[in-house]
Amino acid sequence: MARLSQEELLTDEGIRSDGRKIDEARPFEVEVGVLTQADGSALVRQGKNLILAGVMGPYEAERHSQYLDRSSLRVRYHMQPYSTNERKSPTYSRREIELSRAIREALEPAVILTELPRTQIDVFVEVLQADGGTRCASVNAASVALADAGIPMRDLVTAVAIGKVRDTLVVDINDLEDENGQADFPIAMMPNKGKITLLQMNGLLTQDEIKRSVDMAKRVIDSLYVVQVNALKKKYAPLAAPNEG
Protein backbone atom coordinates (compact mmCIF):
# COMPACT_ATOMS: atom_id res chain seq x y z
CA MET A 1 0.00 0.00 0.00
CA ALA A 2 1.34 3.37 -1.02
CA ARG A 3 2.13 5.90 1.71
CA LEU A 4 0.52 9.26 1.00
CA SER A 5 0.87 12.51 2.93
CA GLN A 6 -2.23 14.48 3.94
CA GLU A 7 -1.31 17.04 1.26
CA GLU A 8 -1.27 14.30 -1.36
CA LEU A 9 -4.67 13.07 -0.21
CA LEU A 10 -6.21 16.53 -0.60
CA THR A 11 -4.74 19.39 -2.63
CA ASP A 12 -5.07 23.08 -1.78
CA GLU A 13 -7.73 23.20 -4.47
CA GLY A 14 -9.78 20.54 -2.63
CA ILE A 15 -9.06 17.70 -5.07
CA ARG A 16 -8.54 14.17 -3.72
CA SER A 17 -5.89 11.64 -4.78
CA ASP A 18 -8.27 10.02 -7.31
CA GLY A 19 -9.44 13.37 -8.70
CA ARG A 20 -12.72 13.61 -6.78
CA LYS A 21 -14.10 16.58 -4.88
CA ILE A 22 -14.67 16.19 -1.13
CA ASP A 23 -18.42 15.51 -1.47
CA GLU A 24 -18.19 13.38 -4.61
CA ALA A 25 -18.99 9.67 -4.31
CA ARG A 26 -17.31 7.04 -6.47
CA PRO A 27 -19.07 5.59 -9.54
CA PHE A 28 -21.76 3.20 -8.29
CA GLU A 29 -23.40 0.47 -10.36
CA VAL A 30 -25.79 -2.31 -9.37
CA GLU A 31 -26.81 -5.36 -11.39
CA VAL A 32 -29.67 -7.53 -10.12
CA GLY A 33 -30.18 -11.26 -10.61
CA VAL A 34 -26.76 -12.20 -12.00
CA LEU A 35 -26.83 -15.76 -10.57
CA THR A 36 -29.26 -18.61 -11.27
CA GLN A 37 -28.72 -20.84 -8.22
CA ALA A 38 -29.16 -18.14 -5.60
CA ASP A 39 -32.71 -17.04 -4.80
CA GLY A 40 -31.58 -13.43 -5.06
CA SER A 41 -28.34 -11.81 -6.18
CA ALA A 42 -26.68 -8.50 -6.88
CA LEU A 43 -23.34 -7.40 -8.28
CA VAL A 44 -22.13 -4.02 -7.02
CA ARG A 45 -19.35 -1.84 -8.36
CA GLN A 46 -18.52 0.97 -5.97
CA GLY A 47 -15.31 2.58 -7.12
CA LYS A 48 -12.98 -0.35 -7.74
CA ASN A 49 -14.91 -2.56 -5.32
CA LEU A 50 -16.41 -5.55 -7.10
CA ILE A 51 -18.82 -7.34 -4.81
CA LEU A 52 -21.22 -10.20 -5.46
CA ALA A 53 -23.98 -10.97 -2.96
CA GLY A 54 -26.18 -14.05 -3.14
CA VAL A 55 -29.16 -14.90 -0.95
CA MET A 56 -30.25 -18.50 -0.33
CA GLY A 57 -33.62 -18.97 1.29
CA PRO A 58 -35.85 -18.66 3.11
CA TYR A 59 -35.70 -22.38 3.85
CA GLU A 60 -36.60 -24.41 6.94
CA ALA A 61 -33.96 -23.81 9.59
CA GLU A 62 -32.23 -26.67 11.39
CA ARG A 63 -33.98 -27.44 14.67
CA HIS A 64 -31.22 -26.06 16.86
CA SER A 65 -31.09 -22.74 15.03
CA GLN A 66 -34.83 -22.30 14.60
CA TYR A 67 -36.69 -19.35 16.11
CA LEU A 68 -40.38 -20.05 16.65
CA ASP A 69 -41.40 -16.46 16.01
CA ARG A 70 -39.02 -15.30 13.29
CA SER A 71 -36.46 -16.14 10.67
CA SER A 72 -32.76 -16.28 11.42
CA LEU A 73 -30.55 -14.24 9.15
CA ARG A 74 -27.03 -15.49 8.53
CA VAL A 75 -24.42 -13.34 6.84
CA ARG A 76 -21.02 -14.46 5.62
CA TYR A 77 -18.60 -11.86 4.26
CA HIS A 78 -15.68 -13.45 2.44
CA MET A 79 -12.75 -12.03 0.50
CA GLN A 80 -11.23 -13.84 -2.45
CA PRO A 81 -7.42 -14.26 -2.27
CA TYR A 82 -6.96 -12.20 -5.46
CA SER A 83 -9.23 -9.34 -4.33
CA THR A 84 -6.61 -7.28 -2.51
CA ASN A 85 -3.26 -5.63 -3.30
CA GLU A 86 -1.38 -8.23 -1.25
CA ARG A 87 -2.75 -11.77 -1.72
CA LYS A 88 -5.17 -12.55 1.08
CA SER A 89 -4.83 -15.96 2.73
CA PRO A 90 -7.94 -18.07 2.02
CA THR A 91 -8.24 -18.85 5.74
CA TYR A 92 -11.29 -17.16 7.29
CA SER A 93 -10.04 -14.23 9.36
CA ARG A 94 -11.20 -12.41 12.50
CA ARG A 95 -11.78 -9.33 10.37
CA GLU A 96 -14.16 -11.29 8.12
CA ILE A 97 -16.08 -12.50 11.17
CA GLU A 98 -16.34 -8.95 12.54
CA LEU A 99 -17.56 -7.57 9.23
CA SER A 100 -20.05 -10.42 8.75
CA ARG A 101 -21.64 -9.41 12.02
CA ALA A 102 -21.63 -5.69 11.24
CA ILE A 103 -23.28 -6.36 7.87
CA ARG A 104 -25.84 -8.74 9.39
CA GLU A 105 -26.80 -6.19 12.02
CA ALA A 106 -27.00 -3.48 9.37
CA LEU A 107 -29.52 -5.56 7.42
CA GLU A 108 -31.58 -7.05 10.25
CA PRO A 109 -33.61 -3.93 11.09
CA ALA A 110 -34.81 -3.78 7.47
CA VAL A 111 -35.83 -7.43 7.11
CA ILE A 112 -39.28 -8.35 8.45
CA LEU A 113 -38.03 -11.53 10.08
CA THR A 114 -41.31 -12.22 11.91
CA GLU A 115 -43.01 -12.84 8.56
CA LEU A 116 -40.95 -16.01 8.14
CA PRO A 117 -40.93 -17.95 11.43
CA ARG A 118 -38.77 -21.08 11.71
CA THR A 119 -36.87 -20.28 8.54
CA GLN A 120 -33.33 -19.35 7.77
CA ILE A 121 -32.06 -16.82 5.25
CA ASP A 122 -28.42 -16.94 4.19
CA VAL A 123 -26.68 -13.90 2.77
CA PHE A 124 -23.32 -14.69 1.20
CA VAL A 125 -21.05 -11.85 0.18
CA GLU A 126 -17.98 -12.48 -1.97
CA VAL A 127 -15.50 -9.64 -2.34
CA LEU A 128 -13.99 -10.15 -5.79
CA GLN A 129 -12.02 -6.89 -5.69
CA ALA A 130 -11.54 -4.66 -2.64
CA ASP A 131 -11.02 -0.89 -2.74
CA GLY A 132 -11.83 0.53 0.67
CA GLY A 133 -15.33 0.63 2.11
CA THR A 134 -16.01 -3.04 1.29
CA ARG A 135 -18.44 -3.40 4.20
CA CYS A 136 -20.54 -0.53 2.84
CA ALA A 137 -20.47 -1.88 -0.69
CA SER A 138 -21.36 -5.32 0.76
CA VAL A 139 -24.39 -3.88 2.56
CA ASN A 140 -25.46 -2.16 -0.66
CA ALA A 141 -25.19 -5.44 -2.59
CA ALA A 142 -26.75 -7.61 0.12
CA SER A 143 -29.85 -5.48 0.64
CA VAL A 144 -30.61 -5.52 -3.10
CA ALA A 145 -30.02 -9.29 -3.21
CA LEU A 146 -32.48 -9.74 -0.30
CA ALA A 147 -35.08 -7.71 -2.19
CA ASP A 148 -34.38 -9.77 -5.34
CA ALA A 149 -35.00 -12.94 -3.31
CA GLY A 150 -38.45 -11.60 -2.44
CA ILE A 151 -37.73 -11.32 1.28
CA PRO A 152 -40.20 -8.93 2.97
CA MET A 153 -38.41 -5.72 3.90
CA ARG A 154 -39.22 -2.37 5.47
CA ASP A 155 -36.71 -0.59 3.26
CA LEU A 156 -33.46 -1.18 1.43
CA VAL A 157 -30.25 -0.54 3.36
CA THR A 158 -27.70 1.78 1.84
CA ALA A 159 -24.22 2.51 3.15
CA VAL A 160 -21.25 4.79 2.64
CA ALA A 161 -18.04 5.51 4.55
CA ILE A 162 -17.11 9.07 5.46
CA GLY A 163 -13.43 9.77 6.07
CA LYS A 164 -11.14 12.55 7.16
CA VAL A 165 -8.07 13.63 5.21
CA ARG A 166 -5.99 16.73 5.88
CA ASP A 167 -8.48 17.64 8.63
CA THR A 168 -11.31 17.69 6.08
CA LEU A 169 -14.32 15.38 5.90
CA VAL A 170 -14.66 13.52 2.59
CA VAL A 171 -17.32 11.07 1.37
CA ASP A 172 -17.03 7.47 0.15
CA ILE A 173 -13.35 6.94 0.94
CA ASN A 174 -11.21 4.65 -1.19
CA ASP A 175 -8.38 2.33 -0.19
CA LEU A 176 -5.68 5.04 -0.07
CA GLU A 177 -7.81 7.38 2.04
CA ASP A 178 -8.73 4.54 4.38
CA GLU A 179 -5.07 3.57 4.88
CA ASN A 180 -3.57 7.06 5.10
CA GLY A 181 -6.48 9.16 6.35
CA GLN A 182 -7.35 10.37 9.82
CA ALA A 183 -10.75 8.65 10.21
CA ASP A 184 -12.97 5.94 8.72
CA PHE A 185 -16.66 6.29 9.58
CA PRO A 186 -18.92 3.76 7.80
CA ILE A 187 -22.66 4.48 8.07
CA ALA A 188 -25.63 2.46 6.79
CA MET A 189 -29.19 3.72 6.75
CA MET A 190 -32.70 2.76 5.82
CA PRO A 191 -33.08 5.84 3.63
CA ASN A 192 -36.89 6.02 3.69
CA LYS A 193 -37.04 5.52 7.45
CA GLY A 194 -34.18 7.89 8.15
CA LYS A 195 -32.68 5.37 10.57
CA ILE A 196 -29.06 4.38 11.00
CA THR A 197 -28.39 0.60 11.07
CA LEU A 198 -24.62 0.41 10.87
CA LEU A 199 -22.22 2.73 12.58
CA GLN A 200 -18.55 2.19 13.24
CA MET A 201 -15.69 4.63 13.52
CA ASN A 202 -11.92 4.36 13.55
CA GLY A 203 -9.90 7.52 14.05
CA LEU A 204 -10.42 10.88 15.68
CA LEU A 205 -13.45 13.12 15.12
CA THR A 206 -14.94 16.05 17.04
CA GLN A 207 -18.59 16.19 18.01
CA ASP A 208 -19.21 18.73 15.25
CA GLU A 209 -17.44 16.53 12.70
CA ILE A 210 -19.67 13.60 13.65
CA LYS A 211 -22.76 15.71 13.04
CA ARG A 212 -21.47 16.92 9.69
CA SER A 213 -20.37 13.38 8.71
CA VAL A 214 -23.87 12.04 9.21
CA ASP A 215 -25.31 14.87 7.10
CA MET A 216 -22.80 14.19 4.32
CA ALA A 217 -23.49 10.45 4.50
CA LYS A 218 -27.23 11.04 4.21
CA ARG A 219 -26.84 12.99 0.98
CA VAL A 220 -24.68 10.28 -0.60
CA ILE A 221 -26.94 7.50 0.65
CA ASP A 222 -29.95 9.16 -0.98
CA SER A 223 -28.17 9.18 -4.33
CA LEU A 224 -26.94 5.57 -4.02
CA TYR A 225 -30.42 4.44 -3.03
CA VAL A 226 -31.81 5.69 -6.35
CA VAL A 227 -29.29 3.49 -8.18
CA GLN A 228 -30.30 0.45 -6.09
CA VAL A 229 -34.00 1.02 -6.73
CA ASN A 230 -33.47 1.57 -10.45
CA ALA A 231 -31.50 -1.67 -10.71
CA LEU A 232 -34.40 -3.56 -9.11
CA LYS A 233 -36.88 -1.78 -11.38
CA LYS A 234 -34.84 -2.73 -14.42
CA LYS A 235 -35.41 -6.41 -13.60
CA TYR A 236 -38.93 -6.23 -12.19
CA ALA A 237 -40.73 -3.33 -13.90
CA PRO A 238 -41.09 -5.26 -17.20
CA LEU A 239 -42.61 -8.18 -15.27
CA ALA A 240 -45.11 -5.86 -13.57
CA ALA A 241 -46.17 -4.15 -16.81
CA PRO A 242 -49.70 -5.06 -17.96
CA ASN A 243 -49.92 -7.63 -20.72
CA GLU A 244 -50.40 -6.08 -24.11
CA GLY A 245 -52.94 -7.68 -26.41
Binding site: L35, T36, Q37, A38, D39, S41, K48, L50, L52, A53, G54, V55, M56, G57, P58, Y59, R76, H78, Q80, P81, Y82, S83, T84, N85, R87, P90, Y92, D122, F124, E126, L128, Q129, A130, D131
Partner: protein, 278 residues
Protein backbone atom coordinates in the same frame (compact mmCIF):
# COMPACT_ATOMS: atom_id res chain seq x y z
CA UNK B 1 -36.78 -22.09 -1.88
CA UNK B 2 -34.17 -24.79 -2.30
CA UNK B 3 -34.66 -26.71 -5.44
CA UNK B 4 -35.29 -30.42 -5.00
CA UNK B 5 -32.79 -32.53 -6.89
CA UNK B 6 -34.08 -33.85 -10.18
CA UNK B 7 -33.13 -37.33 -9.16
CA UNK B 8 -35.37 -37.16 -6.13
CA UNK B 9 -38.35 -35.52 -7.76
CA UNK B 10 -38.36 -36.97 -11.24
CA UNK B 11 -36.58 -40.27 -10.69
CA UNK B 12 -36.76 -43.10 -13.16
CA UNK B 13 -39.25 -41.46 -15.53
CA UNK B 14 -36.94 -38.55 -16.16
CA UNK B 15 -34.03 -40.91 -16.76
CA UNK B 16 -36.03 -42.74 -19.43
CA UNK B 17 -36.95 -39.40 -20.97
CA UNK B 18 -33.25 -38.48 -21.10
CA UNK B 19 -32.28 -41.81 -22.65
CA UNK B 20 -34.99 -41.54 -25.30
CA UNK B 21 -33.61 -38.11 -26.26
CA UNK B 22 -30.01 -39.38 -26.31
CA UNK B 23 -31.06 -42.15 -28.72
CA UNK B 24 -31.75 -39.50 -31.37
CA UNK B 25 -28.56 -37.56 -30.43
CA UNK B 26 -30.57 -34.89 -28.64
CA UNK B 27 -30.45 -33.38 -25.17
CA UNK B 28 -33.06 -31.63 -23.06
CA UNK B 29 -31.50 -28.21 -23.69
CA UNK B 30 -31.43 -28.82 -27.44
CA UNK B 31 -27.75 -29.72 -27.77
CA UNK B 32 -26.24 -32.69 -29.56
CA UNK B 33 -24.32 -35.17 -27.39
CA UNK B 34 -20.97 -33.78 -28.54
CA UNK B 35 -21.91 -30.12 -28.21
CA UNK B 36 -20.76 -27.61 -25.57
CA UNK B 37 -22.97 -24.85 -24.22
CA UNK B 38 -22.21 -21.26 -25.26
CA UNK B 39 -18.78 -20.20 -23.99
CA UNK B 40 -17.90 -16.67 -22.96
CA UNK B 41 -14.43 -15.72 -21.71
CA UNK B 42 -13.85 -12.31 -20.08
CA UNK B 43 -10.21 -11.61 -19.18
CA UNK B 44 -9.17 -8.80 -16.81
CA UNK B 45 -12.38 -8.60 -14.75
CA UNK B 46 -10.36 -8.16 -11.54
CA UNK B 47 -7.78 -5.48 -12.38
CA UNK B 48 -6.15 -5.68 -8.90
CA UNK B 49 -5.21 -9.28 -9.59
CA UNK B 50 -2.09 -9.87 -11.71
CA UNK B 51 -4.27 -11.95 -14.02
CA UNK B 52 -7.95 -12.82 -14.05
CA UNK B 53 -10.70 -14.25 -16.21
CA UNK B 54 -14.39 -14.90 -15.81
CA UNK B 55 -15.86 -17.80 -17.75
CA UNK B 56 -19.50 -18.37 -18.52
CA UNK B 57 -20.28 -21.83 -19.86
CA UNK B 58 -24.02 -21.69 -20.37
CA UNK B 59 -25.20 -20.47 -16.95
CA UNK B 60 -22.17 -21.87 -15.13
CA UNK B 61 -19.89 -19.05 -13.97
CA UNK B 62 -16.30 -19.39 -12.77
CA UNK B 63 -13.72 -16.73 -11.91
CA UNK B 64 -9.98 -17.33 -11.83
CA UNK B 65 -7.61 -14.82 -10.23
CA UNK B 66 -3.82 -14.82 -10.13
CA UNK B 67 -1.49 -13.14 -7.67
CA UNK B 68 2.25 -13.31 -8.31
CA UNK B 69 4.78 -12.91 -5.50
CA UNK B 70 8.36 -13.99 -4.82
CA UNK B 71 9.59 -16.22 -2.04
CA UNK B 72 11.67 -19.23 -1.11
CA UNK B 73 11.47 -22.31 -3.37
CA UNK B 74 10.58 -25.77 -2.09
CA UNK B 75 13.66 -27.51 -0.67
CA UNK B 76 13.45 -30.36 -3.20
CA UNK B 77 13.11 -28.01 -6.21
CA UNK B 78 15.50 -25.11 -5.50
CA UNK B 79 15.73 -24.32 -9.22
CA UNK B 80 12.00 -24.00 -9.91
CA UNK B 81 9.27 -21.43 -9.36
CA UNK B 82 6.10 -22.42 -7.51
CA UNK B 83 2.55 -22.83 -8.80
CA UNK B 84 -0.23 -23.09 -6.21
CA UNK B 85 -3.80 -23.78 -7.31
CA UNK B 86 -6.63 -23.00 -4.89
CA UNK B 87 -10.30 -23.77 -5.32
CA UNK B 88 -13.26 -22.06 -3.67
CA UNK B 89 -16.95 -22.84 -4.10
CA UNK B 90 -18.99 -19.71 -3.38
CA UNK B 91 -21.85 -20.79 -1.10
CA UNK B 92 -24.40 -19.08 -3.37
CA UNK B 93 -23.20 -21.09 -6.38
CA UNK B 94 -25.29 -24.14 -5.48
CA UNK B 95 -27.57 -25.09 -2.55
CA UNK B 96 -25.26 -28.01 -1.70
CA UNK B 97 -22.17 -25.79 -1.38
CA UNK B 98 -21.29 -24.95 2.20
CA UNK B 99 -19.22 -21.98 3.42
CA UNK B 100 -15.61 -22.87 4.14
CA UNK B 101 -12.98 -25.03 2.46
CA UNK B 102 -14.21 -27.00 -0.58
CA UNK B 103 -15.49 -30.56 -0.22
CA UNK B 104 -14.03 -33.54 -2.11
CA UNK B 105 -15.83 -32.49 -5.29
CA UNK B 106 -14.36 -28.97 -5.23
CA UNK B 107 -10.90 -30.27 -4.31
CA UNK B 108 -11.21 -32.68 -7.23
CA UNK B 109 -11.96 -29.87 -9.71
CA UNK B 110 -8.95 -27.90 -8.50
CA UNK B 111 -6.68 -30.95 -8.67
CA UNK B 112 -7.63 -31.70 -12.28
CA UNK B 113 -6.82 -28.09 -13.28
CA UNK B 114 -3.56 -28.21 -11.29
CA UNK B 115 -2.42 -31.53 -12.79
CA UNK B 116 -3.39 -30.50 -16.31
CA UNK B 117 -1.11 -27.45 -16.08
CA UNK B 118 1.68 -29.02 -14.01
CA UNK B 119 1.98 -32.40 -15.74
CA UNK B 120 1.53 -30.76 -19.13
CA UNK B 121 4.52 -28.55 -18.28
CA UNK B 122 2.45 -25.62 -19.49
CA UNK B 123 4.54 -23.26 -17.36
CA UNK B 124 8.30 -23.62 -17.49
CA UNK B 125 8.86 -23.39 -13.73
CA UNK B 126 12.64 -23.43 -14.33
CA UNK B 127 12.34 -19.99 -15.94
CA UNK B 128 10.79 -18.50 -12.78
CA UNK B 129 13.95 -18.42 -10.65
CA UNK B 130 15.25 -15.09 -9.39
CA UNK B 131 18.09 -16.48 -7.25
CA UNK B 132 18.58 -20.24 -7.25
CA UNK B 133 17.76 -21.86 -3.93
CA UNK B 134 16.74 -18.53 -2.41
CA UNK B 135 14.16 -16.58 -4.35
CA UNK B 136 11.70 -17.78 -6.95
CA UNK B 137 8.41 -16.59 -8.44
CA UNK B 138 5.25 -17.92 -6.79
CA UNK B 139 2.10 -18.05 -8.91
CA UNK B 140 -1.06 -18.20 -6.80
CA UNK B 141 -3.92 -19.32 -9.02
CA UNK B 142 -7.24 -19.15 -7.17
CA UNK B 143 -10.45 -20.36 -8.78
CA UNK B 144 -13.94 -19.42 -7.54
CA UNK B 145 -17.09 -21.19 -8.72
CA UNK B 146 -19.75 -18.44 -8.70
CA UNK B 147 -22.71 -20.28 -10.20
CA UNK B 148 -22.85 -24.04 -10.69
CA UNK B 149 -25.13 -25.17 -13.50
CA UNK B 150 -23.01 -28.17 -14.43
CA UNK B 151 -19.45 -28.88 -15.57
CA UNK B 152 -17.67 -26.44 -13.27
CA UNK B 153 -14.64 -28.61 -14.10
CA UNK B 154 -14.14 -27.43 -17.67
CA UNK B 155 -15.20 -23.85 -16.87
CA UNK B 156 -12.45 -23.83 -14.19
CA UNK B 157 -9.86 -25.18 -16.61
CA UNK B 158 -10.76 -22.56 -19.22
CA UNK B 159 -10.75 -19.72 -16.66
CA UNK B 160 -7.33 -20.86 -15.37
CA UNK B 161 -5.81 -20.91 -18.84
CA UNK B 162 -7.30 -17.53 -19.80
CA UNK B 163 -6.04 -15.95 -16.54
CA UNK B 164 -2.53 -17.41 -17.01
CA UNK B 165 -2.38 -16.26 -20.64
CA UNK B 166 -3.33 -12.68 -19.79
CA UNK B 167 -1.42 -12.30 -16.48
CA UNK B 168 1.33 -9.73 -16.02
CA UNK B 169 4.22 -9.91 -13.56
CA UNK B 170 4.29 -7.12 -10.95
CA UNK B 171 6.98 -4.53 -11.93
CA UNK B 172 9.69 -5.72 -9.48
CA UNK B 173 9.40 -9.34 -10.61
CA UNK B 174 9.21 -8.36 -14.28
CA UNK B 175 12.47 -6.47 -13.81
CA UNK B 176 14.37 -9.30 -12.13
CA UNK B 177 13.16 -11.85 -14.70
CA UNK B 178 13.57 -9.57 -17.71
CA UNK B 179 10.08 -10.36 -19.04
CA UNK B 180 6.63 -9.06 -18.24
CA UNK B 181 4.34 -12.09 -18.56
CA UNK B 182 4.21 -15.85 -18.01
CA UNK B 183 5.47 -17.66 -21.09
CA UNK B 184 3.29 -20.68 -21.64
CA UNK B 185 4.89 -23.69 -23.32
CA UNK B 186 1.53 -25.48 -23.66
CA UNK B 187 -2.18 -24.75 -23.47
CA UNK B 188 -3.99 -27.37 -21.39
CA UNK B 189 -7.78 -27.63 -21.66
CA UNK B 190 -9.93 -30.17 -19.86
CA UNK B 191 -12.90 -31.77 -21.56
CA UNK B 192 -15.41 -33.57 -19.37
CA UNK B 193 -17.45 -36.43 -20.76
CA UNK B 194 -20.37 -37.83 -18.83
CA UNK B 195 -21.87 -41.29 -19.18
CA UNK B 196 -25.56 -42.05 -18.68
CA UNK B 197 -26.65 -45.55 -19.64
CA UNK B 198 -24.64 -46.36 -22.76
CA UNK B 199 -24.45 -42.75 -23.90
CA UNK B 200 -21.51 -40.35 -23.69
CA UNK B 201 -22.09 -36.61 -23.62
CA UNK B 202 -19.64 -33.68 -23.34
CA UNK B 203 -20.18 -30.73 -20.98
CA UNK B 204 -22.92 -32.29 -18.80
CA UNK B 205 -25.60 -29.90 -17.57
CA UNK B 206 -26.62 -29.85 -13.91
CA UNK B 207 -29.71 -31.94 -14.65
CA UNK B 208 -27.58 -34.49 -16.47
CA UNK B 209 -25.03 -34.53 -13.63
CA UNK B 210 -27.77 -35.87 -11.35
CA UNK B 211 -28.05 -38.96 -13.56
CA UNK B 212 -24.38 -39.58 -14.43
CA UNK B 213 -23.08 -43.10 -13.94
CA UNK B 214 -19.55 -41.89 -14.37
CA UNK B 215 -17.64 -38.90 -15.61
CA UNK B 216 -14.21 -38.68 -17.21
CA UNK B 217 -12.24 -35.42 -17.41
CA UNK B 218 -9.35 -35.43 -19.86
CA UNK B 219 -6.89 -32.56 -20.24
CA UNK B 220 -5.20 -32.30 -23.63
CA UNK B 221 -2.46 -30.05 -24.95
CA UNK B 222 -2.40 -28.29 -28.31
CA UNK B 223 -0.15 -31.05 -29.72
CA UNK B 224 -2.77 -33.70 -28.94
CA UNK B 225 -0.99 -35.21 -25.94
CA UNK B 226 -2.99 -35.88 -22.78
CA UNK B 227 -1.70 -34.27 -19.58
CA UNK B 228 -4.22 -35.49 -17.03
CA UNK B 229 -7.21 -37.80 -16.72
CA UNK B 230 -9.65 -38.28 -13.88
CA UNK B 231 -12.58 -40.63 -13.73
CA UNK B 232 -15.13 -39.94 -11.01
CA UNK B 233 -18.46 -41.35 -9.73
CA UNK B 234 -19.48 -44.94 -9.04
CA UNK B 235 -20.04 -46.19 -12.59
CA UNK B 236 -17.61 -48.06 -14.85
CA UNK B 237 -16.32 -47.43 -18.37
CA UNK B 238 -15.36 -49.90 -21.09
CA UNK B 239 -12.00 -49.64 -22.82
CA UNK B 240 -13.75 -48.54 -25.99
CA UNK B 241 -15.61 -45.79 -24.13
CA UNK B 242 -12.36 -44.47 -22.67
CA UNK B 243 -10.83 -44.26 -26.13
CA UNK B 244 -13.90 -42.46 -27.46
CA UNK B 245 -13.62 -39.99 -24.58
CA UNK B 246 -9.97 -39.32 -25.48
CA UNK B 247 -11.03 -38.71 -29.08
CA UNK B 248 -13.76 -36.30 -27.92
CA UNK B 249 -11.32 -34.53 -25.59
CA UNK B 250 -8.91 -33.90 -28.48
CA UNK B 251 -11.61 -32.66 -30.82
CA UNK B 252 -13.55 -30.49 -28.33
CA UNK B 253 -10.36 -29.36 -26.56
CA UNK B 254 -9.15 -27.93 -29.86
CA UNK B 255 -12.37 -25.89 -30.28
CA UNK B 256 -12.28 -24.56 -26.72
CA UNK B 257 -8.56 -23.80 -26.87
CA UNK B 258 -9.00 -21.84 -30.10
CA UNK B 259 -11.76 -19.77 -28.47
CA UNK B 260 -9.64 -19.02 -25.36
CA UNK B 261 -6.53 -18.17 -27.40
CA UNK B 262 -8.53 -15.85 -29.63
CA UNK B 263 -9.98 -13.92 -26.66
CA UNK B 264 -6.59 -13.77 -24.89
CA UNK B 265 -4.87 -12.50 -28.02
CA UNK B 266 -7.45 -9.76 -28.57
CA UNK B 267 -7.28 -8.76 -24.90
CA UNK B 268 -3.50 -8.55 -24.95
CA UNK B 269 -3.36 -6.43 -28.09
CA UNK B 270 -6.03 -4.10 -26.67
CA UNK B 271 -3.96 -3.79 -23.47
CA UNK B 272 -0.80 -3.05 -25.43
CA UNK B 273 -2.63 -0.39 -27.38
CA UNK B 274 -3.78 1.18 -24.12
CA UNK B 275 -0.20 1.25 -22.78
CA UNK B 276 1.11 2.79 -26.01
CA UNK B 277 -1.53 5.49 -25.93
CA UNK B 278 -0.69 6.48 -22.35
Amino acid sequence: MRRPSFQGSLGQDYLEFLLAKFKSNERVDGRALDQYRKLEVLPGVVPKADGSAQVKLGETQVLAGIKITSGAPYADTPDEGVLTVGMDLAPFAHPDFQPGPPDERGIGWGRVVDRGIREGKAIDLGSLVIEEGKKVVIIWLDITVLNHEGNAQDASSIAALAALMTAKFPPDIAESLGKDSIELAHYPISVTVGKIGDYLMVDPSLEEEDYLDSELSITTLEDGRVSSMQKILSGALTEDEVLRCVELAKEKGEELRAAVMDVAKKYKSAEEKKVNEE
